[in-house]
């Protein structure tokens, strides 16, 4: 069956006389006849479902009109007005629109507050007797999750979830149709769809992607084309006939609920109805029932035949004192860094464990998940034994998470499975029963079966389930690893759900754990492991996984493997020629910025009998001269100069450590300052760094420095040169002021000026001795002024 929704309400109300800026929902009580008349026109045009005039009837939106206390009244009146227009077959949907506020961390609204706002409205719509709820025009998946949860709590009636997608095929906060479909289907939406923002042409691929990603009916309510503002009025260019012509294509793409959004009229709906009457049939659908996890913006599939999914194990304070201490203090800096690095290392899912004794784990989990949800775009596995922490994590995560894990213990089944169902999470079943840890594969299969049955009874679907074969320590039990592998094979035979397991237990107490873990993982991949939980930084593991991907056919012809490993046996021909002697090697280390290598080379040079002066002149100074020359000729660039400067600094420090009596003579003293009012000091910092590494003594006064402070410092430090920096047109005159003050004080220091807006002409008129266009130039000028 194909069903037809109605079209726009707001523009129709305005045509009936609703003044711009007046609350549309207020007409439900002030002018219900006009509202009913519009509904009637849609019913007459062939709409099967009409939407009550309640799009903005939530507490937050009504606050703008001072009507926040009339939510129930306005929603009930709207349903009454709609019902008055219904034919015997017409259904009334309660329309639920956005609050207009972002949920934290994207905005200030809390998830719970959003939930309450939606619950209040949807409960009113339910009490008023709607046939279904349609949550629509939502641009953020987290807001949709709050609204859907509220709807499932407030009513048993069907819920339609329609997001609003942009021209790039994503919602404004980054969710693609596939991810939206996976999340919303798992959470119990009855229909998923798209409306508003775009016309039918742009929504066609969105409908196709929604239909491909889930088994739910798909709805679509496009605008009548893309709006244009003409003579102060928003005009939608697509006429009814053209809208009708899109009907067949939208149905072919997978839609079975069609209607209109902004700019559509009863005539548009009639055109859709007429097109359907020509015999259009719903498209055949093959629901994608693979197991999927999502973040806000990305879906990851797991299972047989799919690439191995690495689940990063490292966000876990167990045995990591520093991480535990940070979490205890409420700081998530280390957690965030760990997450980012694991994703960079190839983790596709991150396990998050906040198991620090004595803390509020629920609060910590909520905070960590919230932070991670805007930092990395991978799904999370919530790893906790605390039901409150689990719920806090699931609530905060704007995607479909994995629950790691659910054992067959009664408490765990009773508490965790309903939470998985409520929040649409997938569940990792861990075959541990109250009797203890099962030793054999047969026992594990039996216990896993018990958890699976309990999960399905709790309303979870097969694609919500993953199985853990249980990994025990081979050092304690010679058969431990073999039983795990046997369990994986049995799982594949008996269930077919994706298999997930942590590896590291296997190697406890043994040397070369990396070798043991990687070998075990390779064997487990063959036995049916789909997603190992591991340390993604482990090189042995990374190499093994790269090879395994080729062997298992996920990397056709080993192309990625070849790319990654081709360099390992590369010829020496590509490497630069080795330096002739150690002084040349030091020089090359500085020019190429090998900060870590230079210290050893300097020590080697001293050991070989080269004097500190020789190292300084023939290696370090020569290198910086070469770098400066290359910079001047455009052959190298500022960051490279800075790398060389750092390397030179490391070399000097080594010289000082090795020969404390050695002191490089200073070329002179430069006082540097960013002038009063200017707070941008990056350029000045660069100049300071370069000068210091060229043997000049630098007194850096910092930023926003008044002229009198500059004069005083120049006198106190007996400055040879004063370097002044200004970045903005507004602070440039302070250059003049500072130079004038130096001259007025009779200070003999020469002046160099620079900064983004300064020019040589300006420098000249301000009375400066020199203008430097960049840091390297500044050093060269300083050396010249110092007579070096």
């Amino acid at each position: 069956m194909i069903f037809v929704f109605d079209g726009a309400m707001g523009t129709m109300l305005q045509q009936e006389g609703l003044a711009p800026g007046y609350c549309p929902e207020l007409w439900n009580v002030e002018n219900p006849a006009a509202v009913t008349a519009i509904h009637s026109r849609y019913v007459e045009s062939g709409a099967d479902i009409i939407e009550a005039n309640t799009f903005g009837a939530n507490r937050i939106k009504l606050t703008h009109y001072g009507l926040a206390d009339r939510v129930t009244e306005l929603n009930k009146a709207a349903v009454k007005a709609a019902r008055a227009a219904c034919g015997s077959q017409t259904k009334v949907a309660g329309s639920v629109g956005p609050t207009g506020k972002f949920i934290a961390p994207l905005g200030e609204l809390s998830f719970d507050a959003a939930y309450d706002v939606y619950f209040e409205q949807i409960a009113a719509l339910n009490a008023a007797g709607v046939d279904m709820i349609i949550i629509e025009t939502i641009i953020d998946i987290q807001e949709m999750r709050a609204a859907l949860l509220a709807a499932k709590a407030a009513t048993a009636k069907p819920v339609v979830c329609q997001l609003s997608f942009g021209a790039d095929g994503r919602t404004l906060t980054g969710t693609d149709p596939r991810t939206a479909a996976v999340v919303l289907e798992a959470m119990g939406a009855d229909i998923v769809g798209a409306n508003c923002s775009l016309g039918p042409a742009q929504l066609l691929p969105v409908v196709a992607e929604l239909a491909a990603a889930c088994g739910l009916p798909v709805s679509v309510q496009p605008n009548a084309g893309m709006p244009e503002l003409v003579n102060g009025q928003t005009v939608f260019p697509m006429g009814p006939a053209e809208m009708g012509a899109w009907t067949a294509k939208l149905v072919a793409a997978g839609a079975t609920y069609l209607g209109g959004c902004c700019g559509t009229t009863p005539e548009h709906i009639k055109a859709i109805r007429t097109a359907l009457a020509a015999g259009i049939q719903p498209a055949a659908r093959a629901a994608d029932v693979r197991t999927a996890l999502t973040s806000r913006s990305q879906t990851v599939y797991l299972g047989a035949g799919l690439p191995t999914v690495i689940i990063g194990e490292r966000i876990n304070p167990t045995g990591r004192k520093a991480l535990a201490a940070e979490i205890r203090e409420g700081s998530f800096a280390a957690v965030k860094r760990e997450a980012l690095e694991q994703v960079n290392a190839g983790a596709k899912v991150l396990d998050v464990n906040m198991g620090v004794p004595g803390i509020d784990q629920a609060a910590a989990m909520a905070a960590a998940v919230t932070e991670l949800s805007v930092l990395v775009d991978v799904p999370l596995a919530i790893d906790t034994t605390d039901a409150a922490a689990l719920e806090a994590g699931l609530k905060a995560f704007p995607g479909r998470a994995l629950i790691n894990s659910v054992s067959a213990e009664p408490d765990r089944l009773e508490q965790f499975l309903p939470l998985a169902k409520k929040y649409g999470a997938a569940v990792l079943c861990l075959p541990i029963a109250p009797g203890g840890v099962p030793a054999t594969a047969d026992e594990r299969v039996k216990i896993a079966g018990d958890i699976v049955r309990a999960a399905l009874a709790a309303g979870l679907r097969p694609q919500d389930l993953l199985l853990d074969p249980l990994v025990l320590t081979v050092a304690a039990d010679a058969r431990a690893a073999q039983e795990t592998l046997a369990t994986l094979r049995a799982y594949r035979r008996h269930f077919g759900f994706p298999a997930v397991m942590g590896l590291s237990n296997v190697s406890y107490g043994l040397p070369r754990r990396d070798l043991m873990n990687a070998t075990f993982c390779a064997m487990a991949l063959d036995a049916g492991l789909d997603a190992p939980i591991l340390n993604p930084y482990d090189p042995a593991m990374r190499n093994m996984l790269s090879a395994a991907a080729a062997i298992l056919g996920h990397d056709p012809q080993g192309q990625l493997y070849s790319t990654a490993n081709a360099g390992i046996t590369g010829t020496a021909a590509a490497a630069p020629a080795p330096p002739a002697d150690v002084l040349a090697a030091v020089k090359q280390a500085v020019t190429s910025g090998q900060k870590e290598a230079v210290a050893a080379l300097v020590r080697q040079a001293l050991t070989e009998g080269h004097s500190p002066l020789a190292v300084t002149d023939r290696s370090l100074t020569a290198a910086m001269n070469e770098v400066g020359e290359a910079f001047g000729k455009g052959r190298c660039f500022l960051p490279q100069v800075m790398l060389a400067a750092e390397t030179m600094r490391a070399a000097f420090l080594t010289l000082k450590e090795e020969l404390p009596s050695h002191r490089a003579d200073s070329l002179g003293t430069v006082v540097l300052a960013t002038v009063r009012g200017d707070i941008h000091d990056l350029g000045k910092n660069i100049v300071a760094a370069l000068m210091e590494n060229n043997g000049i003594r630098v007194v850096d006064l910092g930023k926003d420095v008044p002229a009198e402070v500059i004069v005083a410092a120049a006198e106190k430090e007996k400055a040879d040169i004063v370097g002044l920096c200004a970045l903005m047109t507004t602070t440039m005159p302070q250059i003049d002021t500072a130079i004038a003050a130096l001259k007025a004080a009779g200070n003999p220091a020469r002046t160099i000026v620079g900064g983004a807006v300064l020019t040589a002409d300006y420098a000249a008129q301000a009375g400066a001795d020199a203008y430097a266009g960049n840091g390297v130039e500044a050093v060269n000028i300083a050396k010249r002024l110092l007579g070096k």
Partner: protein
């Protein structure tokens, strides 16, 4: 006032490379750039606020409670035909620039320089995200959003900065303006986005994305225009 904290799950490495003055440089360790982008992600706290006001093209006045008369031919030309102006303030907060200062003080010059560049990329990305939202919301009303234009671009006097920040309600994201019209935190952006009927011809509008209208011809981050 509307607000949005745009999620930032990556900092653009190529933009960071450009802001660091490394455009076209092949022989530079990629790892250093990647570290800078990663650190910027960890340190950035993107926040944005804006208000949308009526705009009178003929007079160049933004009709806010405290009206702002735009000083500058280029900004006036850029907004020509716009009915409304979104006044936007975006920041990634102070943590990143504090780390840049710490790095320089510790002699980690390259890391400091690259992190500063990554911070610029991050705040521009955050501004792009807010801009995208504003443009999308305007499109629903039949209005097309122009590129954003900031005080100091072209001949628009930087001295309008305090007024622009105030019109955006920048204080709600802890954005301040110094007496010399600089934004604090430094990794912040204020801008105007003209909202014009899509039917208004735009042939004569100047390119506003910084580089074309910026007089700093020797800037290391200057985008080469074809």
């Amino acid at each position: 006032m509307q607000s949005y904290n745009p999620p930032l799950t990556r900092v653009d490495k190529e933009e960071t490379r450009r802001y660091a003055g490394l455009s076209g440089v092949a022989a530079f360790p990629e790892q250093l750039l990647e570290t800078a982008c990663g650190d910027a992600l960890l340190l950035a706290r993107p926040r944005s606020v804006w208000n949308i006001y009526p705009y009178a093209s003929a007079t160049g006045i933004i009709a806010a409670p405290t009206p702002l008369h735009l000083s500058g031919d280029k900004i006036r030309r850029h907004l020509d035909g716009a009915k409304e102006a979104a006044v936007l303030a975006v920041t990634i907060g102070p943590a990143l620039e504090e780390e840049v200062s710490r790095l320089f003080a510790a002699g980690e010059y390259t890391a400091g320089l690259l992190l500063d560049a990554a911070g610029t990329a991050a705040v521009e990305q955050a501004a792009d995200a807010a801009n995208h939202y504003i443009a999308d919301q305007a499109a629903r009303r039949g209005l097309k959003a122009r590129n954003r234009f900031s005080p100091g671009y072209g001949d628009w006097a930087i001295t309008d900065q305090p007024a622009v920040a105030a019109l955006a309600d920048g204080n709600h994201v802890a954005l301040a303006v110094t007496p010399s019209c600089m934004l604090v935190p430094r990794k912040s952006v204020t801008a105007l986005i003209g909202l014009a009927p899509a039917t208004v011809r735009e042939d004569n509008l100047c390119d506003s994305r910084g580089c074309a209208s910026c007089p700093q011809a020797n800037c290391i981050a200057r985008r080469e225009l074809s």
